[in-house]
Symmetry: C2
Subunit: 333 residues, 2 copies
């Protein structure tokens, strides 16, 4: 069974492909096609199950009704939830999303941008890695809408949506201090991306503002792609060597590794030892005891991202660049 083309429909209806095309694209009225012809063509389309070839349409029009979503890692629940929400919302507006993970690898990120570019996606939603500034600027020069989220790139002039990482981190530390903690550790990663740096800055500033000396020794930077068992070992060392009474984990997967480390050490979380995780996770609510977490407003982030990109897509006018910073919530458990 050959797939049908617009020509087949035109032949069947006894009209030109121009007429069929106008009808498919809702321009029938505008082009004053007669009611009778419209009805006839629509019927034939329906009963034949004809679907226009989007590839051909894209080649001709230069756009695709597809938005490219580039994230760090789809298996991280923060991203998979965001992806799901964005997909949902875009779908309702007639846009499809295609997504792919960079694994924080600059080369792969560039590859993905190229792939999306050569597929003529209409717009880009990106949680960027450092090093792709140029590629993104090239997209912008090409007049493609780009929305960054989760982490900003200071060398790129475009829209950004993200949580206020500095403040969320600052407040977490402040809540430790209010509870009388003084030896507060930070477990973070060594990737040099803005949202991680902000979390570190918030940690440091909160200590300083409360007259607690900042010490490098209480900050553990886990190497990004390292094996989890190794990370757990490093955390165990940290927890054993210093008299720490509280720890902020800068990502949810670090917190999960940290909980495993504590379990192995048989160290109880409680009045003597408090924990906050950055980015919530199902683990934390169910954990005994429950773990406090900084919760980014996923729904709001996804909504804002979609809103911004749809605006861009519908108005050809270049809008003012917006940086939307959304407060995160500290869920105390």
């Amino acid at each position: 069974m050959k797939t049908l083309s617009i020509k087949d429909i035109a032949v069947k209806a006894g009209v030109s492909i121009t007429t069929v095309s106008f009808i498919i694209n809702g321009k029938a009225k505008e082009k004053s096609i007669s009611e009778a012809v419209i009805k006839k063509v629509e019927e034939i389309i329906k009963e034949s199950g004809y679907k226009p070839n989007q590839i051909a349409r894209s080649l001709r029009t230069g756009n695709s009704n597809i938005i490219g979503l580039i994230i760090e890692d789809i298996s991280n629940s923060f991203f998979s939830r965001i992806a799901r929400l964005i997909e949902d919302k875009a779908y309702k507006k007639g846009y499809k999303i295609i997504y792919s993970s960079t694994e924080n690898d600059v080369e792969k990120a560039k590859d993905l941008i190229n792939m999306f570019k050569s597929r003529k996606v209409d717009g880009y939603i990106i949680s960027p890695t450092k090093g792709i500034e140029e590629d993104i600027n090239a997209l912008l020069a090409d007049n493609k809408p780009v929305i960054l989220f989760d982490r900003n790139l200071s060398d790129v002039e475009t829209h950004y949506v993200g949580a206020d990482h500095f403040k969320a981190s600052y407040k977490s530390i402040e809540s430790f201090i209010k509870d009388g903690k003084r030896k507060i550790a930070l477990v973070t990663t060594d990737i040099d991306v803005e949202q991680i740096v902000e979390r570190f800055d918030g940690y440091k500033q909160a200590l300083i503002d409360h007259q607690i000396t900042y010490s490098d020794e209480l900050v553990l930077k886990i190497h990004f792609n390292q094996d989890e068992t190794e990370s757990i070992e490093e955390m165990k060392n940290l927890f054993l060597s210093k008299e720490i009474d509280a720890v902020l984990f800068a990502t949810n997967y670090l917190a999960i590794s940290g909980l495993k480390a504590l379990k192995q050490l048989n160290k109880q979380i409680g009045d003597d030892f408090s924990v906050i995780a950055y980015d919530d996770h199902e683990v934390f609510e169910l954990h005994t005891p429950s773990i406090s977490a900084v919760q980014q407003p996923l729904e709001e982030i996804a909504e804002t991202v979609i809103q911004l990109i749809l605006n861009q897509l519908s108005s050809k006018a270049k809008a003012e660049n917006q940086k939307v910073i959304i407060p995160a919530k500290l869920i105390e458990r």
Copy 2:
């Protein structure tokens, strides 16, 4: 800056677009293009940063080097992990993956197939919902490779990769029985898909084989799209009303809700009350006490799926349909 076309390259190199096309597609030798021309064209391509328009290529060749992945829900960690593995492996072979969630909605699933079809994806990897048999058969009639995974559709003659859900469920119940449990409950969903039915059958058969009377009252079927709070209430009722000493949860998200229910009831998991979850989740290892889980071999499933589809894609010959059933492991914690 206009994007370059093959024509621009041809003009710059002073050759025809035919020649450029042959070189791009590695057919230079075969078409005996002279070394000098090859070198020159390759240099121009490199320095100009020219990337062939994949849309045009797809329109012409009818394929896309893209594999469509259709899953139930990307925010479920079972699927997001599989997706990540499949993406990785496909990427290494030069294929891109585009994926999208059906949310177990037949209409959305059909829509997605249509979208992928009109984008001319080369092959399909699908965790199907019931009701899309016809659509999949249409793809097969169109000679497109289709690999089903996680759940099979009996009315569709194609490749399938999945865990042995019946046996895994059977063994879980058997392990309860060995521990002396007799009042064993099953919490499952009401969606009528093969892998869920198999888990139920395994549960029932194990009871029967061990001379334990099967009772409907010990089986709770949670409505698929229902609010979690409601599910938790129903589970609390089950746990309170019967003297249950063990429960198998048929999915990991049900198990998570179940753990929340138990927490609310202040009911301890231990010698008097055992729990096994189907599909592992980070929650379970960290939970106090740790929760046993049926672990599907994600890596193996992903590997097999990719292998099968790549085989199909490279050999135009229609291979024998394979049904690969992979044993799942019960991780006792």
